[in-house]
């Protein structure tokens, strides 16, 4: 099994090597940066698809870094959830790297963009594949620091301000996580997650465990912008360049926030009823507050950012319900959201690229001049609003059914309400931006360049066929494996320690 598990460190080594090479070689040569960025991301995407196949064959892969057995050394783990997240992250990253070739022409210093982009990707992949708590923190910080710098990439007034706010809140979240790790280390005297789960199971529930759960909830709540901790997101996500907004909203808050939280809460500490209730409550709150704040917005990207809060609420609600169906729905919605929210941010970037504005009131009738952008953003809007054949519908349906089955009728009601309000909000976007009469001053605009069109079309295609993932034969290899990884709870420990 050693040969097949050699694949795991590549998920970190390739983007890191790409980043170092980009920064070393392409300060003068923009095309080299493009090639390195695209090359690294496409290799990673193919490897992530391979990893799905490997998980299907072996069900769990474990790699010991430096040949040290856990808990002495660090292990990397690849199970269903890991490969699911890897596919999500690397798919979106590859398409966004494609999009950036043209879009980032408008900015100076392309090499530092690609370097930071690849470092952020390395950080996210590192968080996903690791099986060690402190290592998770280190890679989380890589991704976070790269994202702070990327938010300020345009170096305009409001971008710097948003970046400062984001950086401060993000590092407070990180410090809470670090304090939680310190408490856990003092309590269990180990850092390996599987080993830690074993020790915690022996000791049972105590005040310390509750305290640690609260610290992690606050820390990862900051990272994933759940409602009481969401203040940075509506500033930071719109201020970044469009590909980075797509990356932040699409995958960063999920891999740093939701994935890490789920991994720790489900597999290390063990889910209990109070934590599950808190998760459901926070999810429902984010869902409703996010959508209400989004309705009044006229700035395209800011509106999308508020919808990110709302959609993250669906994911957390689904996972918090804790039944197999709920977790499946939550993870499926996570995948769908990363696809259609990235697409929407890329659309907003395309509109900004052509017209130079983000204000919905100034647009109108753009669909006639920009057919690709218009049609793909129609698909994405219908998808996020939950209209039948598109993927968003299926995942929301599963979450609502799961809430009803677990007799949380109120949460189901809030989910339906938020979905209706989302539809209303996106009807507004379509009406003001793409339909209606073409404004006088937009007669000269052109459709965006080829690579941008290509990545938007591919994402729209995934939105269309994404619903097929719930078919029993398909979900057996992809989604079911991921939800099984969470459902096994603290048995994670015995699975891993026996797999060595």
């Amino acid at each position: 099994m050693i040969e097949t598990s050699q694949i795991i460190p590549l998920f970190v080594a390739i983007p890191l090597g790409g980043a170092f090479l980009t920064s070393l070689t392409s300060k003068k040569l923009n095309w080299l940066a493009d090639i390195l960025g695209i090359g690294a991301t496409i290799v990673l995407f193919i490897l992530s698809l391979v990893s799905v196949r490997l998980v299907y064959l072996h069900s769990i892969l474990i790699y010991e870094v430096g040949a040290w057995k856990p808990p002495i050394g660090i292990v990397m783990v690849m199970d269903g959830l890991t490969s699911f997240m890897l596919v999500t992250v690397n798919l979106v990253a590859f398409l966004i790297a494609c999009y950036s070739i043209n879009y980032m022409e408008k900015f100076t210093s392309k090499w530092s963009f690609y370097t930071l982009f690849l470092l952020m990707l390395a950080g996210m992949n590192g968080v996903i594949v690791t099986g060690d708590l402190f290592n998770l923190f280190v890679f989380l910080e890589i991704a976070a620091i790269a994202s702070y710098a990327l938010v300020a990439f345009g170096t305009e007034k409001h971008e710097l301000e948003a970046a400062f706010k984001y950086a401060i809140m993000g590092s407070i979240g990180s410090l809470f996580i670090l304090l939680g790790i310190a408490f856990l280390y003092a309590y269990t005297s180990t850092l390996n997650m599987a080993d830690m789960a074993n020790v915690l199971k022996e000791k049972g529930i105590s005040n310390t465990v509750i305290m640690i759960s609260v610290l992690f909830l606050m820390g990862f709540g900051f990272k994933s912008a759940l409602v009481p901790f969401h203040a940075w997101l509506p500033d930071a996500h719109p201020s970044a360049p469009a590909p980075i907004s797509a990356m932040l909203s699409g995958v960063l808050i999920k891999s740093l926030g939701i994935y890490a939280l789920c991994r720790i809460v489900f597999n290390v500490i063990g889910i209990t009823t109070p934590i599950s209730n808190i998760l459901m409550f926070l999810g429902a709150l984010s869902m409703v507050v996010g959508v209400f704040l989004a309705i009044g917005q006229w700035d395209f990207k800011r509106l999308l950012a508020y919808h990110s809060i709302s959609q993250i609420g669906y994911v957390v609600l689904g996972i918090g319900i804790g039944t197999p169906l709920g977790i499946l729905g939550g993870l499926f919605h996570l995948f769908n959201h990363s696809v259609f929210k990235s697409l929407l941010f890329l659309n907003s970037g395309a509109v900004e690229y052509s017209t130079g504005t983000r204000d919905l009131k100034e647009m109108g009738g753009l669909a006639s001049k920009m057919p690709v952008t218009g049609s793909t953003s129609f698909i994405a809007s219908m998808s996020i609003a939950g209209i039948p054949p598109f993927n968003g519908f299926w995942s929301k349906l599963i979450i609502i059914i799961a809430a009803v089955q677990a007799s949380h009728y109120w949460y189901a009601f809030w989910a339906v309400l938020a979905s209706i309000l989302t539809l209303a909000s996106f009807t507004k976007v379509m009406k003001y931006a793409f339909l209606g009469k073409l404004g006088e001053k937009w007669n000269q605009i052109k459709e965006v360049p080829g690579f941008m069109q290509l990545s938007m079309l591919l994402l729209a295609l995934i939105c269309l066929v994404g619903g097929l993932l719930v078919l029993p034969s398909v979900s057996e290899i992809f989604l079911r494996k991921a939800s099984d990884a969470l459902l096994q709870g603290v048995d994670y420990a015995s699975t891993i320690l026996s797999g060595i």
């Binding site: 007034k157 670090l178 304090l179």
Partner: protein
């Protein structure tokens, strides 16, 4: 017990500074103080009564040493703190260039 408590008070002091102060440099200082407190907490939980520093020497064989693992973690965490501080300072100086002040109440351009 008492060192743990004092260390947490230091952490809360930093948190108070971040929540309360309205000056960019003061906020950075608050984050630095929180960082110090967490690092101190790691080293406190590693301490062993009458232990030695975890460095072996050829002539003695005393094994009553403090826990070396948190020291390694703190080394990493100090570097992370330095990196974030440097980034904060760069952003703060750029904000000063744009607005001419470090006062956060005067530079609120973003709404909501």
């Amino acid at each position: 017990m008492i060192p743990y408590l004092l260390c947490l008070i230091l952490f809360c002091e930093g948190l108070y500074c971040v929540l309360r102060k309205r000056n960019l440099i003061k906020i950075i200082i608050g984050v630095m103080i929180m960082d110090y407190a967490v690092n101190l907490f790691f080293v406190l939980i590693a301490y062993k009564m009458n232990g030695r520093a975890p460095i072996l020497s050829p002539d003695t064989t005393i094994m009553n040493m403090v826990d070396p693992l948190p020291h390694a973690l703190v080394l990493t965490s100090i570097v992370i703190g330095l990196a974030t501080t440097a980034l904060f300072i760069a952003i703060a100086i750029r904000i000063y260039q744009k607005y001419g002040t470090y006062d956060i109440t005067k530079i609120k351009e973003l709404k909501g």
